[in-house]
């Protein structure tokens, strides 16, 4: 089943003076997916997220949300947790979340109701009348998470979500994010730490030097970057390279082999199977990091 596309960014260009922050960037984010926006620091990820949040407007290009041109009515449908995040230190927790929820366009009563729901869910109800400055950093992060999701946005945008979160909070937030996705929310993750999103993202876009260099479902991208290498474990320790395959590395009875072009997988397995006892034969999938480095080098 093909999913609907919630957000598309087409040929977006953004310049600050002489500096080009985004140069014809394209992404399309399917509904109820977790979309990883990957790239090194300074690649333009934050600028792209600011454009989606309508904090700044693109110089060229088109952004479409839910089939319409992105406009201010969509603000209430988007939740944003910026990398640089914080709260008013002197304001009480409850008051503050209420204020920020109302700024997102919720009514007072609606905001109170949702606020109670989230506070109970994260077991932080007793923080209601505490000032933010009395909270620990981890506690403040939970509040920030509530602020981001309270208005039940269709699209959630997290900029470096796990930087600064302690492991326990990160696990809680991760669980909540997956649950939100299962309930139909679309999530965009931005990070320069590729390994942190590998197992959570369905789709990714790689951004480097203000440009998208790769985009699509993570499985498909990994397939494209298939290097034809396999991890093989045998009973024996004396496997040697042949015309069908090369041994890349070897550790006791654990081999990494690369099947040479022109030869099929089945053929190779048969040949090995004839002379050896195979314990396991597994395809090596490239990590996102490998793919990223490879595609940058290809540029």
């Amino acid at each position: 089943m093909k999913k609907n596309i919630l957000l598309t960014v087409e040929d977006v260009v953004k310049k600050y003076g002489d500096y080009t922050a985004l140069n014809k960037v394209n992404i399309s984010v399917p509904e109820s997916s977790i979309y990883g926006l990957l790239g090194p620091n300074g690649a333009g990820k934050t600028t792209l997220m600011r454009i989606i949040n309508q904090i700044t407007a693109p110089d060229q290009g088109k952004v479409t949300f839910n089939g319409e041109k992105l406009n201010k009515n969509h603000i209430k449908d988007i939740g944003y947790l910026p990398e640089e995040r914080g709260l008013y230190k002197k304001m009480k927790v409850g008051e503050q979340v209420l204020y920020l929820a109302q700024l997102k366009g919720m009514s007072y009563n609606e905001a109170i109701e949702k606020l109670k729901f989230w506070f109970e869910k994260l077991e932080i109800t007793h923080w209601w009348s505490k000032r933010v400055e009395e909270l620990s950093k981890g506690m403040a992060q939970k509040i920030q998470f509530v602020v981001t999701v309270i208005h039940k946005p269709k699209l959630l945008i997290f900029d470096e979500p796990f930087s600064g979160f302690d492991p326990i909070n990160a696990a809680i937030i991760r669980k909540e994010i997956l649950q939100l996705r299962d309930n139909g929310t679309t999530i965009i993750f931005s990070t320069h730490r590729m390994e942190s999103v590998e197992e959570i993202c369905d789709h990714i876009a790689l951004i480097n030097n203000s440009k998208t260099i790769l985009e699509g479902p993570i499985d498909k991208i990994k397939d494209d970057f298939q290097s034809n290498t396999y991890e093989v474990i045998l009973k024996e320790k004396n496997l040697v390279s042949s015309q069908e395959f090369d041994i890349l590395s070897k550790n006791e009875n654990n081999y990494k082999i690369k099947i040479n072009d022109n030869f099929k997988l089945n053929q190779t397995i048969d040949i090995i199977n004839k002379n050896f006892n195979i314990i396991s034969f597994k395809k090596e999938t490239p990590s996102v990091e490998d793919i990223f480095i490879k595609s940058i080098n290809n540029e």
Partner: protein, 421 residues
């Protein structure tokens, strides 16, 4: 529109609920009322009956000293005087005046008031002066009749030919006080806006907020919220000052004693003095103008303060940008005196028309009378100035609040002005 209202509400409530705001709002009127009441009170306090004993071996001066309204004199002999000196606390006199030839000494158990001392000195001086004149053969009658006292009355004739008496000293006073108040308010509330912007930026909450509202809405919400705080404080000051003065007057001053001279016994002494002093000055115009120039002067400057706040990472870095915006304000302050010396001169005219200095200088000029077209022109230019500075400030603000950890130069600010939304 609804969102900007939410911002205004937060900015207003957060500040009004602060302890420092509440303390300032209550303390200032008490001080003001004290300043109004104290002179009346002190003058009143001195008016109690006192009996003073005089001792002089051969009466030369003592019999010529006259009783005044509250001070009475009795002549006593040497024995009695010695007794008083030995036991001054038991004596039925407030003080003892000892005269030996031309040396005069006052003995008392507590420090006598300056007023009383001056009163006695004056009497003695006159008595001795007359004595000397008499000895020189000069007729005192002639000297008495040649004494003159001139007090020029100033009156203003307006276009309709109506004359009102004016009082230059009071005009100077009102002009000075309102001018200084505007200067102080713009500074106080302008920096309040700047601090608010820096707080949001260093807190990093600003990016969350501007994903919900436009940066311009956030900036204007803050500026308007703080303006309302200023107005609240100002109005409370006036009301509380009036209230406190009124009650203090009721409690501390026996009204019947001092109001006998005025026609209407029931009228407040202070109010009476006030209306007498400010006769001929258009207080209503001054009040309305004050509110207007405070509000728009503040709006013009605070948007600039907001822009500065957005460009820096900490309050310590604001210095280089704050100075240029405050120079016109400080200039206006410096020119208060020259403008007062010549409130209708060219300097006064231009400074009261140019938007950056007009809020202070126009207030200084107003009590001396300003043509209505000048006032109107100044007001219109101030509004235009406000729109212009806000437009430029908003551009800097929009870019500045999202810039972290970068030392900002003027060149950089100039570049920001050209960025598109």
């Amino acid at each position: 529109m609804n969102k900007i209202f939410l911002i205004i509400k937060r900015e207003y409530l957060v500040r009004v609920k602060k302890k420092s705001f509440i303390i300032m709002t209550i303390l200032a009127p008490i001080l003001m009322a004290g300043l109004i009441i104290a002179p009346v009170l002190i003058a009143n306090q001195d008016q109690q009956n006192r009996l003073i004993a005089i001792n002089e071996e051969t009466p030369r001066y003592s019999n010529k000293i006259n009783d005044t309204e509250f001070t009475h004199f009795t002549i006593i002999n040497q024995d009695e005087a010695d007794e008083i000196k030995n036991n001054i606390l038991e004596a039925p006199y407030y003080a003892l005046l000892d005269i030996k030839d031309t040396s005069f000494t006052i003995y008392s158990s507590q420090q006598i008031s300056l007023n009383l001392r001056r009163e006695i000195e004056n009497q003695l001086e006159i008595i001795i002066e007359r004595d000397k004149l008499k000895q020189a053969g000069i007729d005192i009658e002639i000297i008495e009749s040649s004494k003159t006292n001139i007090n020029i009355e100033t009156k203003i004739i307006d276009i309709e030919g109506k004359t009102t008496s004016s009082n230059t000293e009071v005009s100077i006073g009102i002009g000075f006080i309102t001018g200084i108040l505007i200067y102080m308010f713009i500074f106080m509330y302008g920096t309040m806006v700047m601090r608010g912007v820096i707080e949001e930026k260093t807190n990093r909450i600003v990016e969350i907020i501007i994903s919900s509202v436009k940066p311009f809405q956030l900036m204007m919400g803050k500026i308007i919220g703080v303006a309302l705080v200023g107005l609240t404080q100002f109005i409370l000051w006036i009301l509380l000052t009036i209230l406190i003065s009124f009650f203090a007057e009721l409690i501390l001053i026996d009204a019947s004693e001092i109001t006998t001279s005025t026609d209407n016994i029931n009228q407040s002494v202070i109010l009476n003095e006030f209306t007498k002093l400010t006769g001929g000055i258009d207080l209503i115009t001054i009040f309305i103008s004050f509110i207007f120039f405070f509000l728009f002067g503040y709006l013009l400057y605070s948007s600039l303060f907001a822009a500065v706040g957005s460009a820096v990472d900490a309050e310590a870095d604001t210095q280089q940008f704050v100075l240029p915006i405050t120079i016109p304000l400080i200039l206006a302050f410096i020119f208060i005196q020259p403008v007062m010396d010549n409130p209708d001169g060219t300097l006064a005219f231009w400074l009261s028309i140019i938007p950056l200095t007009s809020p202070v200088i126009m207030m200084v000029r107003l009590p001396f009378g300003v043509e209505s077209w000048e006032l109107l022109l100044s007001m219109i230019l101030l509004i235009i100035g406000f729109i212009l500075t806000t437009y430029l400030a908003a551009k800097i603000y929009r870019t500045g609040i999202l810039m972290y950890g970068k030392k900002i130069s003027y060149k950089e600010l100039w570049k920001w002005l050209s960025y598109k939304g």
